[in-house]
């Protein structure tokens, strides 16, 4: 079984008497109210999804990640994991103190504050996303953060509610599952979309060379025009029921928000799946991209900086359905003209959903199309808040 990133799976979840003691202590502490998305990242920190991180980044850790793409100590890490706080919540808060974290008024974790530092929005956005363009959803998210960041370890005593609890497995659980299934090699697949035939082609191609496949959709706030979480999960359930061997593929969610940070997020996604127990990770065209902010294969090139990452990236280029070949192909395998190709673009699928085009069986499996059609409103709306803290 592949070791977690940094060699040890973080476990900062309390049980039994320790949980009760923490809850009692939290009742006496000043409270910082956080969003459900932050609560889920606290859970990710505490359950080892973000190993070796044990809490939110200090200024030193953030500076290293922004400018060197590594933590102090040189372990690869590319995405800031930070906690912002409004001024009103910071009265009397100093390094050495503690805060109870609450979501919807319910205390669920304790933050041991080791650092209070100002947020440089421009620096964080420029380094993380490669842009400060306010049209980038990640830049918008950073702009909406409060001015002060808190660093320190978290301890979770009451996991936040999750409507998708059925698919929410911790790294400790996926590792046991993969081991009991006899999987020595596991391919992780990241997605924020419903599956089309191109996705299935990539998943099965990778699975050919591994013992198992871990389909791990990001479930959480996304931008307008992305598919809603419940649509993605039901669509994958339908696909796997009809088109995958039950003992070769597992569906489990990654509860977080999309950062749309392109190359940096591709490396982050690989690290997270390494923590879940994957030995390999699929990196496609424009992985974690948005609009035209990143080159189509920038997310492949960045992995050259991290030969020590510990999980093997599997790079896939663009693929399409060729009507002459009668199958999904890529530029290396298909000799036919562009006129014979059907591209797997999100735009094409969204047009089909809007009724402008039929949903072709060459684009999406009929069982998946049937699931999508059952939802009157399958896409995140233009008026939705999207990724927000």
């Amino acid at each position: 079984m592949i070791a977690p990133h940094g060699g040890r799976l973080v476990d900062r979840v309390l049980h039994g008497d320790a949980r009760a003691e923490a809850a009692a202590r939290a009742a006496t502490l000043p409270v910082l109210e956080v969003s459900l998305e932050v609560a889920h990242d606290v859970q990710n920190l505490a359950t080892g999804v973000f190993s070796p991180l044990e809490g939110f980044m200090t200024r030193d850790e953030l500076d290293h990640v922004l400018h060197r793409r590594r933590l102090p100590g040189d372990l690869a890490w590319t995405i800031p994991i930070v906690l912002d706080a409004p001024a009103a919540a910071l009265r009397g808060v100093a390094p050495g103190g503690a805060l109870a974290l609450a979501c919807a008024g319910r205390r669920f974790a304790v933050l041991e504050v080791t650092d209070v530092h100002p947020l440089d929005r421009r620096a964080v956005a420029a380094a993380t996303f490669g842009t400060t363009d306010p049209g980038h959803p990640g830049v918008q998210r950073v702009a909406a953060l409060h001015e002060t960041l808190l660093g320190g370890r978290v301890t979770l005593f009451a996991p936040p509610p999750d409507p998708h609890e059925r698919y929410h497995l911790s790294p400790a659980e996926t590792r046991v599952l993969f081991r009991l299934r006899g999987w020595r090699t596991v391919v992780g697949f990241q997605t924020r979309n419903v599956p089309h035939l191109g996705h299935e082609y990539v998943q099965k191609t990778a699975l050919t060379f591994a013992d198992g496949l871990f389909i791990n959709p990001v479930i959480g706030p996304k931008k307008a025009g992305d598919f809603k979480d419940e649509v993605i999960l039901e669509a994958y359930q339908a696909l796997m029921r009809h088109y995958f061997l039950r003992d070769r593929a597992v569906l489990g969610i990654f509860r977080t928000e999309m950062r749309y940070a392109g190359p940096r997020e591709a490396v982050f996604h690989a690290i997270v799946r390494k923590n879940f127990g994957c030995t390999h990770f699929i990196v496609g065209r424009d992985h974690a991209g948005v609009g035209r902010f990143y080159g189509p294969y920038d997310a492949h090139a960045i992995f050259q900086e991290f030969p020590d990452l510990g999980i093997v990236p599997l790079f896939f280029t663009a693929f399409f359905y060729c009507t002459r070949c009668g199958s999904v192909e890529n530029e290396k395998t298909c000799p036919h003209d562009a006129a014979d190709r059907i591209d797997f673009s999100g735009t094409r699928l969204r047009r089909a959903l809007e009724g402008a085009d039929p949903i072709s069986a060459r684009l999406v499996r009929p069982e998946v199309a049937e699931v999508i059609a059952r939802f009157p409103d399958p896409l995140v709306g233009a008026g939705s808040p999207g990724p927000a803290r």
Partner: protein, 67 residues
Amino acid sequence: MPDDTIMIPLPRALYRRVETAAGPAGVGAYVARAVREALARDEAAVAPAAADEAQIVERLRRLGYLD
């Protein structure tokens, strides 16, 4: 050489350090022991306690991931 033997290349400088520590005839056994110990450390670092694993297996069965 036995059928289940695998050849592993070592950088020359590293080989010399191992040879100094283990003697010319002991390099293979030294490397094999180091690899076994490293694997054991890795597995210990991630293996849940027995009681925890029992709870994990029960949850995986309840959710349908295991029969």
